[in-house]
Symmetry: C2
Subunit: 372 residues, 2 copies
């Protein structure tokens, strides 16, 4: 018995020595650990906490900290060791968003179950180059086709177009947004009808994500996505035309949805003003209404808005967090819609301008689509 | 003038303070820098050097080191700061290979120009789930279609199937292998005919890359890719059938190639023995001949080899580095082929078992395909 106890002790010691990285505890707190015997200060930052958390060192030189209970969600984080940003050497899952690379993990639970890969049929995800006559270049987008798409070679599908925010790119909704995983899960659960999802690059001056253009491995952080106002939005039918030509879509307004977050929410607002007959379902997530203009004057858009709502969309869904810095602008839009007597739906979540909310909004938006 | 000089000085100081990350110098040496004022030891490791290089600290706390001249190639690296593995906080390009995450960059030059995104038409890259009756599960693969594929809706294309090594997955040839970029460049330069390239997951017990299965964000490092010998290889027609059904292929031996690196080279050897009528072009890159067997006895395969070469492949190309630990096994295979009088081509490169060689072999192999 003594021998067995010693073996177990030895095994536990080994375990303790290697128990680094992140660990989701049964009470939904999360323990972060990193071995750095020579460091004086270690912290962990990211969506796990409003402020960085300080770790404390044990006798083996392993630093650790346990968070308060975290909501079921998909989180990102990184360590700072004596002032040096350090990805978790024990977590090999990392996502680049704009010019930041961070580790990711899931705290399991009801909402985050939509974000976890499940044992359900999986759709395909394609990086597609399409010609944009309107913008004068070939551009890149991500296209999700549902698991059943290739099994039903004669069936046609509705399409959701979904747009990223400032500094994001055609990989954002699939990376931090977990779009294909959410769609697989919601379609398998019968919460969403099988649909194609298109995630374009919405930075008017960038044809593709950093590293996928001939500029090489170069990150855009100089705000050059801020192009000529309404240029990307006017050229949007280039994308719709390419999708309708190359995928088995139902090519009418009733079977097209458009949504976007932040800048992409502003683009959604403007594209639907430009082209009132293209999309029947609109989702404005934390939308930067008036995106691209210095002084947003909503009254300028009143005529276009009335024209758009003559044949009112089946759904005009505005969602934003109670702490979002764009709340006022969304309130202004709602006041305008109210004043003109135009129908829309509104959802105000907790929190602010975050992926946590945008993933939530996607899971709330998608079940409302194409069910008429 | 003094003012201007001071301004320039100030600008240079700012530049120096922020000149961290990696910098490819005009003489093809590379300078690595990282700000870590409190650290005692900083090194940089990866494919840039056989042994880690030590950095030295300046008065601002910025550590740096300059490599000897590096050959034009696609490199990976990471820092170690006081014993802690640290990705470069100033380089946002990172690739996961098995359980390692590292930064990447290119040293420009003639060979590495194939690895850099150029201003040429780009093909599409898709993550595809296919059913494998032979392995009893849905599995994931990466499929490249050439830029012209959607522009020629009636044209059919030859297919190259290319297999990763131990611990790699369906993302390996596209990540460290730079396959779609190489193909775009070689097709645009007229060095390769337009073709579809299929990169399956070749780990018999894993349907998909880590993070894309319902096991969640879990990394396989326990060698479970070592499944029952010849099981993956016997099921390989599942992949070919799915591709022939879902893509516009020319579905005959003359328009199919199969290649693989290390484990994937061994699988290429074995698949072509199993199915002599499927592939006309075979590429064994640093091949683990006899993969999956404890004691490889090539004489056991003599009959199958003779059967395979009755209708000899148009190309049986063996490539390996002079320092590769699998050199003897490849020499044994060549001795067998020589003894039996079976035709093959051989290329012996410098170096060993490395992505540097496997990318090189791909750029040498592809121009030999489908030109009869």
């Amino acid at each position: 018995m003594k021998k067995l106890a010693m073996l177990i002790m030895a095994a536990l010691t080994v375990f303790a020595a290697y128990a680094q990285g992140y660990k989701v505890n049964p009470d939904a707190t999360v323990t972060f650990s990193i071995k750095a015997p020579k460091a004086d200060n270690v912290s962990v930052a990211g969506s796990i906490s409003a402020k960085p958390l300080n770790l404390t060192k044990d006798s083996e030189g392993v630093w650790s900290v346990t968070t308060p209970q975290l909501a079921p969600d998909f989180y990102y984080y990184w360590f700072v060791v004596d002032g040096v940003k350090t990805l978790d050497p024990k977590n090999h899952y990392a996502i680049r968003d704009t010019a930041t690379l961070f580790n990711v993990f899931i705290v399991p639970g009801e909402q985050s179950a939509w974000y976890a890969v499940s044992d359900v049929p999986h759709g395909d995800v394609e990086q597609v180059w399409y010609p944009s006559p309107g913008l004068g270049c070939d551009r890149r987008m991500t296209v999700y086709t549902p698991a059943e798409y290739r099994k039903n070679p004669n069936k046609r599908y509705p399409v959701l177009y979904i747009l990223h925010g400032t500094g994001g790119d055609e990989g954002a909704w699939e990376g931090l947004g977990r779009t294909s995983i959410i769609m697989d899960n919601m379609i398998a659960a019968g919460k969403a009808v099988p649909m194609i999802v298109v995630m374009p690059n919405c930075n008017v001056n960038d044809p593709a994500a950093p590293g996928y253009t001939h500029e090489g491995m170069y990150i855009t952080t100089d705000g050059r996505s801020y192009g000529e106002c309404n240029k990307f939005e006017m050229a949007f039918p280039d994308i719709v035309n390419y999708i309708d030509k190359n995928y088995r879509t139902i090519a009418d307004k009733q079977h097209r949805a458009l949504a976007g977050l932040s800048m992409g929410g502003g683009q959604t607002w403007r594209i639907s003003l430009n082209y009132p007959d293209l999309f029947d379902y609109l989702g404005l997530y934390s939308a930067a209404i008036g995106w691209g203009e210095k002084n947003v004057q909503l009254e300028k858009y009143e005529e276009a808005l009335l024209r758009q709502f003559k044949n009112a969309p089946a759904l005009y869904w505005i969602a934003i967090g109670e702490k979002d810095f764009l709340l006022k602008r969304n309130n202004d839009l709602r006041a305008q819609l109210d004043r003109l007597g135009l129908p829309y739906s509104y959802y105000e979540s907790t929190g602010g301008h975050s992926w946590s909310n945008w993933r939530l909004y996607l899971t709330m938006f998608v079940p409302q689509l194409f069910k008429k």
